[in-house]
């Protein structure tokens, strides 16, 4: 501060340039983190495409993949390898990537917009209501509302319904974070109880099935499912990324946000609705994969801070990386028996996360 009673302010050009440089360097560091995650993710996808119960050579795997695009240059290895790569491995790999991106992205947005580090995309009753929708069909399903398609549809319907109910109810109170969290918590318990009530009256197998449905599982992923989820994730994440600066403002307090010209109510409802949609879509296809959405944003925060313009894309990529890692482990540990990746994410992620928390010197929250 170099001015006193002299009211005209003279900026210090040297210091300003230094500051600008420093800021640019900081942003560059954040970009670097994000950009490093991309090859890691692609590498993991390649590893996942390469590993599996069937022992295929790297050459076979890549020839088969390239054969699809350049059938003239690359000869097909065999129908069997073709089937393994194109129908079994690749949809699963892509689904793991999409689900990781969606869950971690939704987690990042929910934490910031609800101003709560414990917020999780599965919060707000989304997982329990999807579980209820699935249970309803597993236990009482008849006609068109039975089988895989019925379960997925019903799960998605209930997840979206509950998100809308929560957003609608909390709107009466101005969509305040605490109101949303509390109503979401109540919804979680409500649908858990409803599910248990159904399970209580049903045969043990059906009860167990509905419970197991909740454990995230990438088995039997098909291209059609990837095709549905891909545009949902792409558009939603695009929208969320577009609003990521406003998200910073939103997490700086509703008053500040309002005075900066943000329609806090509309923005929060929008963000929550999009994040819920992503979560509901993922949960209805592959069940509940916990931990990814909660922890990936925190892991990234430790490296690049809480600026959502960087944090959001970083979280998405970290989510994909974590889920791809988990799926790789899930498919190889007991091969040819597959473990549910939803279990592995916690097993892999928790120790890593705790180690980061303990090493962290800066207070982030």
């Amino acid at each position: 501060m170099n001015q006193s009673s002299d009211t005209t302010f003279k900026p210090d050009i040297i210091k300003a340039t230094a500051l600008k440089k420093e800021q640019r360097k900081a942003n560059l560091k954040k970009w670097r983190f994000i950009i490093i995650l991309i090859p890691i993710m692609i590498l993991l996808m390649a590893i996942n495409a390469q590993t599996g119960s069937a022992n295929l050579s790297i050459g076979d795997v890549f020839t088969t993949i390239l054969h699809k695009f350049f059938p003239d240059t690359f000869a097909s290895v065999s129908d069997m390898v073709n089937k393994i790569i194109w129908q079994l491995r690749l949809p699963r790999v892509l689904m793991a990537m999409l689900a990781g991106i969606g869950l971690a992205g939704a987690g990042c947005v929910m934490q910031s917009s609800l101003k709560n580090p414990l917020a999780d995309p599965l919060l707000l009753g989304i997982s329990s209501s999807a579980g209820f929708g699935a249970t309803l069909v597993i236990i009482l399903g008849v006609g068109i509302l039975s089988g895989t398609a019925g379960i997925i549809t019903s799960a998605f319907f209930f997840a979206i319904l509950v998100s809308l109910v929560i957003i609608g109810l909390s709107s009466f109170k101005g969509a305040k974070p605490v109101t949303m969290l509390l109503i979401g918590l109540a919804m979680t318990y409500l649908f858990q109880s409803l599910t248990q009530l159904l399970q209580y009256q049903s045969s043990a197998e059906a009860a167990k099935a509905s419970m197991m449905w909740m454990v995230g599982d990438l088995s039997g992923v098909e291209w059609s499912e990837v095709a549905i989820l891909f545009p949902i994730i792409l558009v939603s994440c695009g929208l969320l990324f577009w609003k990521s600066w406003d998200l910073n403002i939103l997490s700086s307090g509703d008053e500040t946000a309002k005075s900066l010209g943000i329609n806090v109510f509309r923005l929060r409802v929008f963000l929550m609705a999009v994040a819920s949609l992503v979560t509901a879509a993922i949960v209805s296809f592959i069940g509940v994969i916990a931990f990814v959405g909660l922890v990936c944003p925190h892991i990234c925060r430790m490296f690049i801070g809480s600026d959502n313009r960087f944090l959001f894309p970083a979280s998405c990529l970290a989510g994909a990386v974590l889920l791809l890692c988990a799926d790789c482990v899930a498919r190889t540990v007991l091969s040819p028996v597959i473990l549910p990746p939803g279990v592995i994410t916690g097993l892999l992620g928790a120790p890593f996360f705790i180690q980061l928390v303990m090493r962290q010197r800066r207070e982030l929250i």
């Binding site: 119960s53 089988g147 209580y200 197998e205 009860a207 599982d217 028996v337 597959i338």
Partner: protein, 438 residues
């Protein structure tokens, strides 16, 4: 003594209790659950020591066959014991001064129980027991049904019966049981909802709690029927069922015993997973499946896969693609495919749709079983209930059609339904249990 190892039994129960929910099928995984509950179960066991091998101590005269007194009913390991049913029963019917007849049996949980005869009022807690009571023709003595028994065709008089609301994921209403005052309570402790020790402490000695089946044993169904025969004094019916089961096995093994390994087809049992997408199966560690392939002359594709007590939770589909196998038997589970198969189901269109959906799955598409038409659906009840012997008949004919040209599994099922379930159904219309029809 391996099969009826008391320790294993109790541990399993405990393991399930610990997990908070119990399922009929899950019990079948028996040993697998030990992983979770083993330590706890071990501690619990020491409290209820069991002298399985000790001789029945009876102060009164023994009227049953004396040669096998030492062998309690559920400890026999002989597979061929079915022809000599009475020999394996350690029942000691006694008469006291007050002329009260009693029978002492060793139940599936390895407990020695003395029951006053005659048993006129029966309560049970599991639908499999309901069907077994029909088999020994004692359904008319049932005074209360469980809340999973629905079929009024098989179980007459259901509508006017009080319900014992037991939930497989919940607890038993002991108050209601005590109020109803049954002579015995029949349970399947390894299935859901029942804590055997709790039931014993709440109900005994007034109401004996008898464990009828051990679902982890392929032979358990017949043994449970024999046990019921003794308690209900329906030895004839029980014996008839045992001979029926034995005759099925005999007629199958007569033709399959000569098969060399090369003649045995490789079979994938696709058991309904907890989710539809799962490729679940059983390894040979699960005794009923080992018996299935042994008797019918086949090889289990999942025989040696890592499992939890025989339960193979989720097979990697790409592994299946690389495997060379001949048959697929798919377990069709009511919960996922309601009304597709079972007693009285005549319309095969639902089954046909399922078959088409399954064979079109990318894992199976173009595989040997699909091309050869060796892809079958089986009713869940065949592998998971007292109807298991009929599975042997169906599977044997499916695996070796040339050996079983004159053998009609549908007739065997028909025989079962008319002779033991005592329902009048048209031979052709008894239902859909195996699809496509053999």
């Amino acid at each position: 003594m391996k099969k009826y190892n008391k320790n294993q039994f109790d541990k399993t129960i405990d393991a399930h209790k610990k997990k908070g929910e119990i399922s009929r099928r899950h019990f079948l995984l028996g040993a697998g659950s030990l992983v979770f509950g083993g330590a706890l179960g071990g501690g619990l066991l020491s409290g209820c020591k069991q002298e399985v091998t000790t001789q029945t101590v009876s102060t009164t005269k023994t009227v049953s066959i004396p040669t096998t007194v030492e062998v309690p009913v559920m400890t026999t390991v002989t597979e061929t014991a079915y022809s000599t049913v009475t020999e394996m029963t350690t029942e000691t019917v006694t008469e006291t001064a007050a002329e009260v007849k009693t029978v002492t049996i060793t139940d599936a949980a390895g407990r020695e129980i003395t029951v006053n005869l005659p048993v006129e009022r029966v309560a049970y807690l599991h639908p499999a027991i309901a069907e077994s009571l029909v088999i020994v023709n004692a359904w008319d003595r049932v005074i209360a049904k469980d809340n999973y028994t629905f079929d009024t065709l098989i179980f007459p008089g259901l509508d006017n019966m009080p319900v014992l609301p037991y939930f497989e994921s919940g607890s038993v209403d002991y108050e209601k049981i005590i109020e109803l005052q049954p002579d015995v309570l029949l349970v399947l402790p390894t299935a859901g909802g029942i804590d055997l020790n709790e039931a014993i402490s709440k109900l005994e000695p007034e109401i004996p709690v008898i464990s009828v089946f051990d679902t982890n044993d392929a032979d358990t169904w017949s043994k449970g029927i024999e046990l019921l025969g003794a308690v209900m004094q329906r030895e004839e019916e029980a014996q008839a069922f045992a001979s029926f089961v034995q005759s099925i096995e005999d007629s199958v093994t007569a033709k399959t015993s000569g098969l060399v390994e090369a003649d045995k087809p490789s079979v994938l049992l696709k058991i309904s997973g907890w989710t539809i997408d799962q490729f679940s199966s059983f390894s040979n560690e699960f005794a009923p499946v080992k018996k299935l392939v042994d008797v019918t002359g086949a090889v289990n594709l999942a025989a040696d896969l890592p499992s939890m007590g025989g339960w193979v939770e989720n097979i990697d589909p790409e592994w299946l693609v690389t495997q060379d196998y001949d048959y697929v038997l798919v377990d069709i589970w009511e919960s996922y495919y309601p009304g597709a198969m079972g007693v009285g189901v005549l319309d095969t269109s639902a089954a046909q749709t399922i078959l088409e959906d399954l064979t079109a799955m990318n894992v199976f598409e173009g595989s040997k079983p699909v091309i050869d038409g060796h892809f079958y659906l089986m009713d869940h009840e065949l592998i998971m209930s007292i109807r298991y012997p009929m599975l042997l008949a169906y599977a044997a004919k499916a695996f070796h059609p040339e050996l079983f040209i004159d053998f009609d599994p549908d007739a065997v099922m028909q025989d079962y339904l008319t002779r033991f379930i005592r329902i009048e159904v048209d031979p052709i219309e008894s239902g859909l249990f195996f699809y496509p029809k053999l």
